[in-house]
Amino acid sequence: MVKQTSPASLVCDLKIGEPDRTGIDVLAEVGRIFPKVHLKLFTSYALSADEEARLNHLGAELYRKSDGVEELFRDLHDLQSGAQFSLPESSGENAELLRMREVAELLATDFVAQLRQVKDPTKLFIVSEGTRFSIAELIADVEGLTDRGIEYIRLWTESRALLRRMGRDP
């Protein structure tokens, strides 16, 4: 995928759902084959000293999900504006879309993990202007990154930011 899309940067979470591989392994592999790609780790997990050393060695940047979303978006946007790279326009647009999608997927994973804590997601409903949907349907929307799913991911990040501004732990 990296070869096909020529991205300016690659964003990965630490845990990627594989038992013997982490996001740092993926970054290391991509960095070895495509040394110009900017490597970024976007996670809420605490890093061990060894993992931090590996990140530094790779020259990868670390963004925390708790307070690094805006910074990550800004940096991705700066890269896209062509300051560091001059990608062909069409592949650049695709690459930006892909990066945005990666970020949305990483946030969706965390949000879905919280939504899955709900005891009975099929029996609780949200009503919105006469339409009704269950938490189970909301989970599917967030996982599928539908418009409603993205809207709720946005609300979730805003809610966390609001709580942080109020000095509360989100």
Partner: protein
């Protein structure tokens, strides 16, 4: 201290002839009608001198409601209602399949323009920002987005009822919309924190906090919304 008490008494006396909380449920939403839920749950929450009215069916005009409730002056109004499908008027249950929405003319009060309107209505800002409404409601607080509501657990409806109660009281207290908007935003900030503190994500408290976050984000006023529109128009002209 005495000055403050006198001020409150004077305000109370003045508003008794003008203040109204109006609920307009819509049967089309059946058991999931958020307005009907809030109306039911707030029945015992307001002071008895807060006049309230549930408008279950179309009536000829707002004047009819006002005179029935003894409101003889321009009113300060809190409205809980739904928009019509086109987001141009307020939806209401029709009589004989006619008149299923309320337009600006319906709201006209013989005593003149309404003092302040707090409209708990999805996309209410879009409706109220139309010039035809400006003549009737020049000062308002409402929302620029649709609002979501949780059903299936009475605790969520109760949280909404408490928030609604605070908004009604804020409308009673505040004489200008910028102060009222600030108060309502603070109410939603507190509601987000309370939802997270009192109900865990496991019990959906997290999702309830998201609904209040949407209200916090989208609540606006006649002044703030017009400012945004003006900025947008300048930006478009500059392109």
């Amino acid at each position: 201290m005495i000055k403050r008490i006198l001020g409150a008494v004077r305000q109370s006396y003045r508003l008794r002839r003008r203040f109204l909380v109006l609920f307009i449920p819509f049967d089309g939403y059946g058991e999931y009608d958020a307005v009907a839920s809030v109306e039911r749950l707030t029945r015992r929450l307001f002071p008895i001198y807060f006049k309230r009215r549930r408008l279950a069916r179309y009536v000829r005009s707002f004047s009819e409601v006002a005179s029935e409730r003894g409101l003889s002056a321009p009113t300060r109004l809190v409205l809980f209602a739904h928009p019509c499908r086109a987001h141009t008027r307020i939806a209401i249950n029709p009589i004989n399949d006619l008149e299923s929405s309320l337009g600006p003319d319906w709201w006209t009060h013989p005593a003149g323009e309404h003092e302040i309107l707090t409209a708990h209505v999805c996309n209410g800002a879009r409706i109220l920002n139309r010039p035809s409404y400006g003549r009737v409601f020049p000062r308002w607080v409402s929302y620029s987005e649709k609002l979501d509501f949780f059903v299936g657990d009475p605790r969520f409806a109760e949280q909404w009822a408490r928030v609604s109660e605070r908004i009604v009281k804020a409308t009673w207290d505040c004489d200008d919309v910028s102060r009222l908007l600030q108060r309502v935003r603070t109410i939603y900030e507190e509601a987000v924190a309370e939802a997270r503190d009192s109900i865990s994500f496991e019990e959906d408290g997290g999702v309830l906090a998201l609904h209040f976050t949407r209200c916090y984000r989208s609540v606006t006023s006649s002044e703030a919304y017009n400012g945004l529109q003006a900025e947008h128009e300048i930006a478009v002209e500059g392109l």
